[in-house]
């Protein structure tokens, strides 16, 4: 038995496939951790996870996006150290990168 080709339903099936794939990612971390007993070791691993995700996401992006972006992220972190405001950090970072890019970096 062979499946009929997707034909005119193709785009909708593609969207549904993406939605399903994304939803599986969204739930599977929570579902899988339900089978892992929360030993102190697992707890320490989970505690280290958010910072690790943030660093692992940001560092390679700095490399990819270039010097202006990297300095903008540092400026945002500095702003966050001085004043704990995400809004201010965002404004500082965006202003910084806009100026750098306008200046041709």
């Amino acid at each position: 038995m062979t499946l009929p080709e997707p034909g005119s339903w193709g785009p909708y099936l593609a969207i549904l496939a993406m939605a399903l794939a994304t939803y599986l990612c969204r739930i599977s971390g929570v579902v899988l951790m339900g089978f892992v007993p929360l030993t102190p070791r697992v707890r320490r691993g989970l505690a280290a996870l958010p910072g690790s995700i943030v660093v692992a996401t940001v560092l390679p992006l700095i490399e990819r996006l270039g010097l202006a972006a990297g300095l903008a992220l540092l400026a945002a972190i500095a702003s966050m150290v001085i004043r704990r405001s995400e809004l201010l950090a965002l404004l500082v970072g965006m202003a910084f990168v806009s100026l750098m890019r306008a200046a041709g970096f």
Binding site: L3, A14, A17, S28, R44, G51, P60, A76, I77, V97
Partner: protein, 242 residues
Amino acid sequence: MPSEAKSEPPHAALLTLAGMLLGLRRVSVLMPGVVIFAVAFGAAASAKGLSLVEAVLMSALVYAGVSQLVAMELWRPEWSWGAIVALAFVTVTVNARTILQGASLQPWFSRYPWFVNAFQLSFFTDANWLVGTRYHNEGGRDLGVVLGAGLALWGVWVVMTVPGYLLGALVADPRKYGIDLVMPIFFAAMIVPLWRGKRGALPWIIAGVVALITVRLVDGYAFIIVGALSGAVVGAFLDDPA
């Protein structure tokens, strides 16, 4: 300051309207960035020949910005089953970081009935993970914050896909205003409240180094998951003296 190895005190599984409004407030700094991102996706979708219905449907059902833009690179006029499966596979690799994000908040989420999680996780993204993580670290326990932030961004994301689709050609280069950096800046800023002193830094350094190595060896977004997992494993095996 809450310590990392706390055992969760028993508490009611809170999910309130006040929490949802707090989530909306906390995520609102990201709204301008999400608007521009959604407009950019709408524009890319119309340029690739999707219908308006398809573009809006994708924003509503998938609701994952980077993977939607990647899908536009792979979009085609005719679809075979193979192409659909390949697209789903690429989508998983782009969104695999949400597996780890979900795992990191599971001790909190697990206090709620499965159907609550099945629903709220439909709106789980980078932005409300960051908002939820910070809120939980401050001692907050109202799941409404995560759900409210996710729903608010979802609504904006879906609605703003439309003007992007219709006015696509008029959209200026988002790079010029640094809009492409909104999420990276928000991620970077989050390092500060997550900071737990020098001891906690070792897993992060490992995560960063492994991610930098992985990005050189493997195409795509594997670097996030490989780096973050390495950091978590190191964190798990660092024995606290206390």
